[in-house]
Structures are given as C-alpha cells and as structure tokens.
C-alpha cells in the first residue's frame, strides 16, 4: 500500500467575524507547499489536490495546476496528482487541460497523475452553466479527447456533442507516454466499477471500510481483466481510499489536535452538495463555519465529541444507507487514521490485508493547525511509512502482477 496526502485547501471563516483574516489565504497556500515538501522528503508517494470553484470555506483550491507547478519545483519524487480536474468543457476547454497537464509533466520530470471528474455541487454546475444530467456524458467526451490531444500529432480534430475543434497540434506533449496515469473520482460502488471498465484508477471518496474494500478490490480487478473498454491509450489499475488523518503521542492528543477538522469537512461538503442547502448559500456573505458550530443537529454535534477511536464495525453501525450520505457520515466520524503510531498501524494493516493500492490522508481540514499537520506527516513518514513501503515492494507488487496477468493493454501506473 502506498500513501498520499489530499488537499481541498479548506479555510473556515472565523465564527465571530464576517470575513477571513486578510492573510489567511496566503497562509494556507504556503502551508500546503511546506507540508508537501516535508512529505516528499520523507517518502510519501502522492499528493492529490482537488479543483473546486466558489465553494467558500470548503475548498479554496480552484487552481490546482498552479499549486502543482509550484510543488514541481519544491519536491523531487512525490507524484503530483489532480484529484481531480473538472473536464466538462464549460469548466475547462479540453485543449487547455491537455496543454497544462503536459507542461506540468515536463516541469515535474514526469510526475503527473491525471484525475478527472465532473463535480456535483450546484454552486459549480450553475456557476459554469453545466447541465447536471449531461455532466457525465460531457466528462467522458472531453476526457477521451484530452487523451487523444496528448497522443496524436497533430490532433485530428473533433466534432462532438459538447465541444468541437479543428485539427491542431496540441503542444507540448507529456513526458509520460502515452499519457499520465488516469484516475476518476468515485464516491459510489458503481462508479468504481465504471472506473475499472474504462481502465482508470478509482479515487474512492467514500471512506470505505476494509471489509467493503475487499469485495470492491476483487471485483475491480476482475473487471480490469474481463470487461475492459479503455477510455485512454494506457490503463491505470489502481484503487485509492480517503481517510482523515492526525497523529500524536497519545490517542487523546491526536483527537484533540484533529479538532473539528473531519466534522467540518463532512458538514461543509454536505452543505454545498445538498441542492436544498447549497442553493441557499449567499456568496461572500454566508459563514459556513458559524452555521456548522450553531447547527441544531445533535447527532452532528456529538460527532465532534465522540469522533475518534471507533472501530470500522462501530463506524458502520447505524449509518445511512445512501452511499454519499454514508461517506459524509464516515468522514465526520473519523477514527480510522487518527491516533498513535500503534493505533494507525493496526488500522492500516486491515486495509493492506485487503490489497488496497493507495491510502490518501486528509490532513488539512477544518481549523486544524499547520504545526500539528507537519508533526503528523513527520511521525508517519518516520515511524510507519518504511515498513509499509517494504511490504508494498514485495507482497503487493507480486499480488498486483497476478491480478493483471493476461491484460493486454499498455499500463501506465505509478502504483
């Protein structure tokens, strides 16, 4: 199992003020650069950054390509991963996505991972005029063509349903051939299986338990072997799962430092992605963090108090059935990767046993402190990462080779 960090660039407003400290945005951008630079020096494998627009407080990461460009000059080995780029053409013209990915791949000497997706928040869909019921079809058409732009010389041009352009040579071309490894955002089981059929890595935003993961992993790799209909020119067989993360010398201290990060992560995600609530957001006026603290939902309030030290079985008990709601619930309940070295080892071994390819940690969320995130990254990098890496290179690599036996598509994967 490999490890990565995940960034939304969350920035809650102060509860007692209507606006941020004027230096707040500059600070979280530079904090992220410092955190990833440290993670790279310790051997973390990936950094994933989202692309979101207008989701105040939940995510100030609207230009991941710029953050990745900065990171390309401050890091040496860590994979610079879009998790994800919004590819429906109204967000980003496909040719601009292909150009930016290739330029970043050159700047980073071939370290780019290309995750793509559609988003589902009304703030973003409405802001860019993307029709909800067509977004998946838009995503597929644009993503397919972006990959053609990176591989065809010249690009043959395209007359599509959602965008068209004449033949042009889209330059530069990426260092990685035929193109960087592909990922797609997957918060439901069926999307993970779509990812498998299309030959893409599945970025699991569902906070899956080890037990669920075992079944998904088997089915995902079976579909890669038996039902592949690749969207690109090389496949990336890979399953990733998100988990909230904070470490300290005691479980209690880790929970204290975790603060309300996971609960705010969950609350603000639900706030923007629920059409009934997200649609009422007043841009530049609403204070999501204050709403979060004042919410009347007792269950949600208890999540902060009881947040950690729950076994996957406890987390699974009494949770919503709908997969998106379940993911929010689990994100808030945290527990899995918050604690001491020994607590984390115990939990992560369960994921390793289920042959997970990549665990991605959400460290920066809510009002957590930069210095606590830095200490956690250092602790994990020194006390846990080496043993997992060793087993990855031996056991997991062998297991994966067996899973992919007989697959005759080119593979470009950094797992």
């Amino acid at each position: 199992m490999k490890f990565g960090l995940f960034y939304e660039l969350q920035l809650p407003k102060p509860a007692d003020a209507d606006d941020w400290d004027p230096d707040a945005e500059r600070r979280i951008f530079h904090d992220m650069l410092d955190q990833v630079e440290l993670a790279d020096s310790l051997g973390f494998d990936y950094v994933f950054e989202v692309e979101h627009h207008f989701l105040e407080e939940y995510s100030h990461s609207s230009t991941p390509e710029l953050m990745m460009a900065a990171l390309s000059q401050r890091t040496k080995n860590i994979r610079l991963s879009h998790g994800i780029v919004l590819t429906p053409p109204r967000y980003n013209h496909p040719a601009r996505v292909a150009e930016r990915l290739a330029a970043l791949d050159i700047l980073s000497n071939g370290r780019v991972e290309f995750g793509s997706g559609e988003s589902a928040s009304e703030m973003e869909l409405g802001g860019f005029g993307v029709e909800r019921r067509l977004k998946k079809a838009m995503w597929e058409e644009a993503t397919r063509e972006i990959l053609n732009m990176m591989t065809q010389t010249p690009y043959q041009g395209f007359e599509g349903e959602f965008f068209s352009m004449p033949s042009r040579n889209v330059v530069p071309k990426p260092v990685q051939k035929p193109h960087p490894p592909l990922w797609v955002a997957a918060s439901r089981r069926e999307t993970t299986m779509v990812a498998a059929r299309l030959g893409m890595g599945s970025l699991g935003f569902g906070f899956e338990t080890p037990e669920e993961l075992g079944e998904r992993t088997q089915e995902y790799y079976r579909l890669i072997r038996e039902e592949l209909m690749p969207i690109g020119h090389a496949i990336n067989p890979a399953l990733a799962v998100l988990n909230t993360f904070m470490m300290a010398d005691t479980d209690e201290e880790a929970m204290r430092r975790s603060a309300n990060g996971p609960a705010f992560f969950s609350y603000s995600l639900g706030y923007y992605y629920n059409p009934a609530v997200g649609g009422k957001h007043k841009p530049g006026v609403s204070n999501v963090y204050r709403d979060f603290l004042n919410r009347s939902d007792e269950t949600a309030s208890r999540q902060i108090e009881r947040g950690g030290f729950l076994s996957p079985e406890q987390i699974a008990s009494g949770e919503p059935e709908d997969e998106i709601q379940k993911a929010l619930y689990r994100a808030a309940r945290s527990g899995n990767a918050i604690g001491t070295t020994e607590s984390l080892r115990r939990t992560l071994l369960k994921y390793e046993e289920q042959n997970l390819d990549l665990m991605i940690f959400v460290a920066q969320c809510g009002d957590r402190r930069h210095e606590h995130i830095m200490e956690s990254i250092e602790k994990f990098g020194k006390e846990l990462l080496p043993e997992f890496r060793e087993r990855h290179l031996t056991n997991h690599t062998k297991w994966r080779k067996e899973q992919l036996r007989g697959v005759d598509m080119p593979i470009n994967s950094s797992i």
Binding site: R133, E190, M193, V194, E219, A276, P320, D322, Q325
Partner: protein, 117 residues
C-alpha cells in the same frame, strides 16, 4: 463477483445479458433502454421491492428512487404510486452512462436476490 449469469430469473438475466452486449458494442442508448425496461420489470416480478425505503437527509425515500437520473429519469411522482415510470430525455448515452446504469441494475437485482435467500 457480479455477473448477469448470477441472476436466477430467466427474463431479467436475458435483459441484462442483452444490455451488456449493447454496452460492449458501443450502443449506449440501446443498453440504457434495455436496463430501464429491466428495472421496471424487476419491480413487477418482485412487488415487495417497491415498498423498500432508505433514509436520505432525514427523509424516508422509496428505494427505487436510487435509480441514477442521467438522462433516463425516474418520474418522482411515479415512485410513491408503486408503478415506476422512466422517461428518456435523449436517445444517445455515453459508454460511462450505460456502464453506470448497468452496474446499478445488476447490483439491485443481485441484492434483492441475496436478501430473499
């Protein structure tokens, strides 16, 4: 492992197999139409499935409304009546849309089959 061959009902199995062939051949529209028909037939064959619900944001919702509205949309007013209807906004569907519907219907049928075992 979830395959159409795991479906015990002959009619539903045949529909899912036909949808799979259409999906693999790049005929997304045909696949989605077949899957929508299979989903509606599923409720005719297993009427107790119509009564199943799930909790969503504090509301009790008929389980059948989990159907993904990606252009073949379940009429919301048809769910409580117990006679679900799916209307098509368009004829063409992308491969990923067909795959989404395929996986959803396959999983729903197999889940019901397992629950009844």
């Amino acid at each position: 492992m979830a395959r159409p061959s795991d479906i015990r009902n002959d009619e539903l199995r045949a529909q899912l197999e036909a949808a799979f062939v259409a999906m693999r051949a790049g005929r997304g529209g045909e696949a989605v139409k077949t899957l929508a028909a299979a989903y509606l037939r599923f409720f005719e064959l297993f009427p107790d499935a119509k009564k199943e619900t799930f909790l969503f944001r504090g509301f009790t919702i008929p389980r059948m409304m989990r159907w993904p509205n990606l252009g073949a949309n379940l009429k919301p007013e048809s769910a409580p009546s117990g006679t679900p209807e799916i209307e098509f906004e368009r004829d063409r569907f992308a491969a990923s849309e067909a795959m989404t519907y395929y996986q959803f219907v396959l999983d729903e049928i197999l889940a019901k089959q397992d629950a009844d075992r």
